[in-house]
Symmetry: C2
Subunit: 397 residues, 2 copies
């Protein structure tokens, strides 16, 4: 019998979702499961999203433009202009989730076999899109001790080959919560220019920067305007993961026309959701963003409070997004995470986390680390973390 | 300055959409444009879709399962069981449009550089997904004189190489309206088994078979159950193109687990629309499908009535879907189609069609052909076709 493709059989299963069957089995046994494994915010989708949707129901749910509805692209341009960043509607293509923006960015910049440098640990789904696009992700390792900030410039440049086409960053970072400094972005700009590369920038969490810091977009970096591709999404910002709407932004016209060809092949992003998204981009203002940011910051603080001083646990304070990657006093964090679902409960409940090894490309790294998404209310977070600590007390490698 | 990828710069622009700027310019001049260029049905989306949507608004628009909501997969299984086809919910993955089903099918069966045999003219967007997946579409030519049915078995087998992984069919066909007979499907089954291939079957138009005929699904073919992958969509059946929901069906467990890995990378298809889709799959019955089919059949009949006996126009009666590919008395149908938008109007209106050359992979074929999508009401169809005939009278190559 004919086999499936090699590229699919070699594709990594999602480390965020691979333990789901164990979680389902736990629930079937009657054990409650706190999900700290997936970046699914609990914050309500803004009600205006739903009213805008209901006000836009057409007779015929027709295809929209391949680049996305103008009303949404205008709303996004307005959102950026409020942040002092000038973007034209032609420099935006609406994508089916931030996911598609990543895939389009890989496809537009790379041919089969080309390389993209990224910083591990990194958002594991980049691997899937790299497989689909037939490109190689070349990891530069960031360390827990360094708060997952970038290593020295020379260490990055060491990975550049004649097949390198781009450097991929994510700031604020999933899975670490690190926020790149202006200095780090400056170093990256120099490398990008010097080696004739693209800078692919995942800025999905740009509104979640803590402790009074603010986000510097790669769209603001001078001298590399034509080399920057931003990938964004409404999923986290507006708690609308299921809408499947994101966008790709670039001032490079060739990149945008390549993205449009890719966009035409899949016809269009979901039509109706775009009206809801346009509404929230237009109408939500500073107070909304400040509230959300404060909510995540206090959850981050709770995480630090609960885990500070715990023997064998190590992580530096996350600066943004809603993730932390931490070292645990275990040899194999995947085994521990599975065990929490299959063999442990505390007062009838358990906690699910994502083993971090899947966020590394270098084999053997991150085996003792997990990623936590702090996307639950403080009450639930407190319980989930308590359970995790109890589990750590009992667990033996 | 660094360039874009070769694969994107070589990608074909959509022949269905490439003349859109001319159409927009015509509209800006005040000229009405009848769109026979795109398969965008004018039939209202079933109202139950909207009420199901409104009844399902959650507080948090969350990610759904990567394989799609169970309620929708159950509804699709029920739809098939009514047609006498038994499909398990695990044999269905919900995709973001039929588009993604095509891409997943290519990715799951083929590695980079592998070949898929298809029959030209074919749905032009297959080219886009082939570019994305890095595979080669190898065309077998079907002719207008033969009603775009399959050529002899030997002619198909001649194209099989050691890189061939699958044969791709679409029946009822976009862009020709041909419906493969049970005999043709039998021949394909033999080839598939003999040469150890997959059969990728686009059955988006399965409910639109005219003149009392009925559709034979490749899911019903004996002996190749493990080799069949069906790609489907709600876009045309339920006039819901903008929902971006389709599905991929296979009884091959390895194929389904490959599709699920691809699905996990992009997280999930649009959540909310799946409730609407589940409703219509569950609730619409024979009378709905019979009505829709009759509507398209009478438009098909109108097309034949209007064009029969026109000198230089040739096409056989389309048997299904809502397309016809026809030869015109022009040398370059793309030039004619552009001219209709830029230089012609009749009583303040003009008609837009899709040049057919883009539906062929073999250079030089189909230059004198167009594709018409009969997706307008009879009144509008009559006017649109009248304008097309008037244009043909005036146009000189």
């Amino acid at each position: 019998m004919t086999t499936i493709s090699k590229r699919c059989s070699e594709m990594q299963a999602s480390p965020i979702r691979k333990l789901v069957p164990y979680a389902n089995a736990a629930k079937a046994r009657g054990t409650g499961v706190y999900h700290l494994n997936i970046g699914q915010p609990d914050i309500p989708t803004p009600p205006g999203y739903w009213s805008a949707l209901k006000d836009s129901l057409p007779d015929v749910l027709a295809y929209g433009p391949s680049q996305g509805l103008l009303v949404l692209r205008e709303a996004i341009a307005t959102y950026y202009s409020r942040a002092g960043i000038s973007i034209d509607t032609d420099e935006i293509i609406i994508t089916t989730g931030g996911s598609e923006a990543v895939f389009f960015a890989f496809m537009a910049t790379c041919d089969h076999g080309d390389e993209v440098i990224c910083f591990e640990p990194f958002y594991t789904n980049y691997n899937g899109f790299a497989s689909m696009a037939g490109i190689k992700l070349v990891p530069v390792t960031c360390t827990c001790e360094n708060g997952f900030h970038l290593p020295e410039k020379a260490e990055i440049e060491l990975k550049i080959t004649e097949r390198t086409r781009a450097i991929l960053i994510c700031s604020p970072n999933n899975p670490t919560g690190a926020v790149l400094s202006a200095e780090e972005l400056g170093t990256l700009s120099e490398i990008i220019s010097k080696h004739d590369l693209y800078l692919l920038s995942d800025e999905v969490y740009r509104d979640f920067v803590f402790d009074g810091g603010s986000h510097v977009s790669t769209l603001e970096l001078p001298g590399i305007e034509d080399r920057v591709i931003v990938m964004d999404s409404i999923s986290k910002r507006f708690s609308s993961c299921g809408a499947r709407l994101g966008n790709m932004i670039s001032r490079n016209k060739d990149i945008m026309s390549a993205a449009l060809k890719l966009g035409q092949a899949r016809l269009c992003p979901p039509t109706l959701a775009q009206y809801g998204a346009a509404w929230i981009y237009h109408h939500l203002r500073d107070d909304y963003y400040a509230d959300i940011m404060a909510t995540y910051q206090s959850r981050r603080d709770l995480l630090i409070e609960e885990f500070s001083g715990m023997e064998g646990i190590f992580f530096l304070k996350p600066e943004g997004a809603f993730y932390a990657t931490m070292r645990l006093p275990v040899k194999d964090a995947e085994r521990f995470a599975s065990w929490m679902l299959t063999d442990f409960e505390f007062e009838g409940e358990t906690t699910m986390v994502a083993p971090a090894a899947g966020f590394y490309a270098t084999p053997g790294l991150g085996l003792d680390q997990i990623r936590i998404a702090y996307v639950l209310s403080e009450d639930k977070m407190r319980k989930a973390l308590k359970i995790l600590k109890e589990g750590l007390k009992v667990y033996r490698d």
